[in-house]
């Protein structure tokens, strides 16, 4: 424990700890994480290097950014990217519903233990199982439409996965259904860690349900919401392959094609690996930008709070 500062009773927690940590030479920290860094460097560094080589070469010759330009100009890639961006529009819905459900569970709604498990179960199911299940439920004569017809709601009946106007929305609905559980548990965990006296104070001040959560709960949960936002943004940009592959295969037409299936098809079905690599590079840049933006915003927020 040499070099570790021991806080005196008069110290106010973190300040002393930070000062204590700062006494360690910086290289020591790097030494500790060196094995992990090396592993990451070998696994991801080499992969990224190979990806960039593939993305900038064709038939063994360098083509500069030519492959990337072709990918950007490819109408199929644009459609796939557009579908990813459309799926991103579900983010506010996922977060909104997850928040409401988490708050209801937090407030101990009737049967909350059952509901908490029920909400989380979809997240535990493999995506392929979810895809097969909903692939059956959403056929024209599947359980959903049959139920709607039984309820005399025929005007709501759709060919959910066979109609290009509805296929992506249906897919988005399934993704929301499954991803919701993670958000609810995340938000609930944060809610349980919030100091109860803040809520009590709000109630004493006469705040109603909505004002309490709008002005007290939401600000206190900003960081966890931001975290979940980024996780789901990455999911919707580059983690929906299994949903699409199992439920629609990218069809009808190209209606549900996403960048991942575009990459997969070019790499392994159409055998145009350089185009797949170019698209993967663009996707990597895009997702990295989203993550970087989140870190910058969070850093700025932390600085403002510190100030």
């Amino acid at each position: 424990m040499d070099g570790t500062a021991v806080a005196s009773p008069g110290d106010r927690g973190t300040g002393a700890a930070v000062r204590g940590r700062s006494r360690r030479p910086p290289w020591q920290a790097f030494l500790w994480i060196a094995p992990a860094l090396a592993a990451i460097g070998v696994v991801y560094g080499y992969s990224v290097y190979r990806l960039l080589i593939e993305a900038t070469h064709r038939d063994g010759k360098s083509v500069g950014l030519g492959n990337l330009r072709i990918a950007i100009d490819d109408p199929f890639f644009r459609q796939a990217l557009g579908n990813n961006l459309r799926l991103l529009l579900t983010l506010p819905i996922i977060i909104g519903i997850a928040l409401v459900v988490a708050v209801l569970l937090f407030e101990g709604m009737r049967g909350w233990r059952f509901h908490r498990v029920a909400v989380f179960i979809p997240y535990m199911l493999p995506v392929t199982v979810v895809g097969v299940l909903f692939g059956e439920l959403l056929t024209l004569h599947g359980a959903l439409n049959t139920t709607l017809q039984t309820l005399h709601l025929n005007f709501l009946v759709q060919d959910w996965l066979g109609n290009p106007d509805w296929a992506l929305r249906s897919l988005a609905g399934v993704i929301i259904w499954r991803e919701l559980g993670f958000g609810v548990i995340l938000f609930l965990a944060r809610l349980l860690s919030l100091p109860q006296n803040v809520f009590d104070a709000a109630r004493v001040d006469g705040a109603g349900w909505f004002r309490t959560h709008w002005h007290v709960t939401l600000p206190l949960m900003r960081s966890i919401i931001g975290f979940y936002l980024v996780i789901e943004a990455i999911t919707l940009m580059s983690w929906v392959f299994s949903y699409v592959f199992v439920m629609t295969g990218g069809g009808p037409g190209q209606a549900t094609q996403v960048t991942e299936t575009y990459i997969y098809q070019n790499a392994f079905a159409s055998d145009i690996p350089w185009l797949a690599a170019a698209a993967a590079t663009l996707l990597l840049i895009g997702v990295t930008a989203v993550a970087a933006l989140f870190l910058v915003v969070r850093w700025g927020y932390s600085r403002r709070r510190a100030a």
């Binding site: 991801y44 992969s47 990224v48 190979r50 990806l51 593939e54 070469h57 038939d59 063994g60 072709i70 490819d74 199929f76 959403l138 056929t139 024209l140 004569h141 599947g142 060919d159 959910w160 996965l161 066979g162 109609n163 290009p164 995340l186 966890i224 975290f227 980024v230 996780i231 990455i234 940009m237 580059s238 983690w239 629609t248 295969g249 069809g251 009808p252 037409g253 190209q254 991942e260 990459i263 997969y264 098809q265 070019n266 790499a267 392994f268 079905a269 159409s270 055998d271 145009i272 690996p273 350089w274 185009l275 797949a276 690599a277 698209a279 993967a280 996707l283 990597l284 997702v287 993550a291």
Partner: protein, 452 residues
């Protein structure tokens, strides 16, 4: 928060992994395989790996293979053969991935024509004619579609009569229809009659796309005077919007307008839809020729008839079935090319040909097969059709065009989101895209089809 950050990292890393999947791909090396030459017979034990498909369309194929492999291993104690059944969607991608790693099967199942030759052009196949003597190859049926640069690249295994329509005599009779339609106008008229009786005229499924390629081949061949027209459209000297090449989209549109197909065709795969035909809820369905015996057995021989798509023109495929063979190829990286070829030849011996038909009900692609063994009249009909078949169109267009223009176009037409003219125009623009992106593919295609 530590757990959360760990989760973030894992998610992000996993996302990156998905994106990096393509980095495992090597660049395609146009041109043929190095192939050629016999490998020396190994003295030690040999393990061959065979990736195959086909149990999906020729039920009993897995059983046949198990028996045939056992017999072969008994004859050759130093050889062991591992067979691995592939799924439809993974047949091409799995081999593509294996080809990048130069590690995988010794024997690989390929659909005929360009489905096999694209891999030959990419250097993934050994020329099988270097390992199978010409006298033996002369017995194989439809081998011309797998021949390029003077060599056979994949050996025909069994014939796929492509694609017959099965009809239920009892269901047609229920609607007062005495005989199956033979002309286009009869077909459209029967569709209306059947619909009026609450019977689905034809059961199909396009959710996974593959049936779109079938429809292209079945309907498209009727209006072409020769398959050369199609080849010319691929290389750009004709257009897919030219009347002969676009006519099939119009005919498909007519069938859709006449409500010939099940209304849930967009949300079902073909195999799911065929069950409604078995259940007597639809009058007709389209099936792989190799599957006919299974359906006849399920429904009863007296109730089932086999026919070709009713004629709307007098082109090369009108009133005929496409004639193609499903094939077996040898991977270019296999250390046991001759041993692989020997096993393929073993499956073409008379006893194995007979066993193949017995187990699968499919016709072996070998003229040494004794047609007297055919025990189902409907299959005999297919055999007769296959003696005078037409080129199977799907084997003569780039696979990428098939999966995008045909699979997607047919789905959109069934969904009412594309007209025949729009679908044809999309096919032309998709082909133009392929010509731009894959000039090597087009060069090889020209050499193959003698367009250069």
């Amino acid at each position: 928060m530590t757990r959360l950050l760990t989760t973030t990292g894992r998610r992000f890393a996993a996302a990156a992994l998905i994106m990096l999947a393509a980095s495992a791909c090597g660049s395609s090396s146009g041109g043929g395989s190095s192939g050629g030459g016999s490998s020396a017979a190994p003295s030690g034990p040999v393990t061959l790996t065979m990736w195959y498909w086909g149990n999906q369309e020729a039920h009993g194929l897995s059983s046949f293979l198990a028996t045939s492999v056992s017999k072969y291993e008994a004859l050759h104690p130093n050889i062991k053969i591992n067979t691995v059944l592939q799924s439809t969607d993974n047949l091409m991608p799995n081999f593509a991935a294996a080809a990048k790693a130069k590690k995988g099967p010794d024997i690989e199942y390929r659909w005929g024509g360009i489905w096999a030759l694209q891999d030959a052009w990419d250097g993934n196949l050994a020329p099988i004619s270097d390992y199978i003597p010409a006298a033996e190859r002369a017995h194989y049926l439809n081998s011309s579609e797998d021949t390029w640069d003077g060599k056979l690249w994949s050996a025909p295994w069994y014939v796929q009569p492509s694609f017959p329509i099965l009809y239920r005599k009892d269901v047609l009779a229920r609607a007062g229809i005495a005989a199956a339609p033979t002309t286009w106008s009869q077909l459209l008229s029967d569709c209306s009659t059947l619909r009026a009786k609450g019977i689905t005229p034809i059961a199909g499924g396009v959710k996974d796309g593959w049936f779109g390629g079938w429809l292209f081949s079945i309907l498209g061949s009727e209006s072409l005077t020769s398959v050369d027209e199609l080849k010319q459209a691929v290389v750009g000297t004709k257009k897919f919007t030219d009347p002969d090449l676009a006519e099939w989209w119009t005919r498909l549109g007519q069938m859709i307008s006449a409500k010939c197909w099940n209304d849930d065709i967009g949300s079902l795969d073909l195999y799911q839809a065929q069950q409604t035909w078995v259940d007597g809820k639809s009058a007709m369905t389209v099936t792989a020729g190799t599957d006919v015996r299974k359906f006849v057995t399920q429904v009863g021989a007296s109730k089932v008839g086999v026919m070709t798509m009713p004629k709307y023109a007098s082109g090369v495929g009108a009133g005929k079935l496409g004639s193609t063979s499903q094939t077996l190829a040898i991977s270019s990286w296999s250390p046991y090319k001759q041993q692989s070829a020997d096993f393929i030849m073993f499956m073409h011996t008379p006893a194995e040909l007979a066993l193949f038909y017995k187990d699968t009900g499919a016709l072996p692609a070998d003229n040494r097969f004794d047609p007297a063994l055919i025990d189902v009249p409907q299959v005999k009909q297919l055999y007769d059709y296959s003696q005078n078949g037409s080129p199977y169109l799907e084997n003569f267009i780039p696979t990428d065009l098939d999966s995008k223009a045909n699979f997607g176009g047919v789905q959109l037409m069934f969904a009412g989101k594309a007209t025949a003219a729009q679908a044809a125009a999309t096919m032309e623009s998709d082909m133009a895209r392929i010509r731009t992106i894959e000039p090597d593919l087009i060069d090889n295609f020209k050499k193959w089809t003698g367009q250069q």
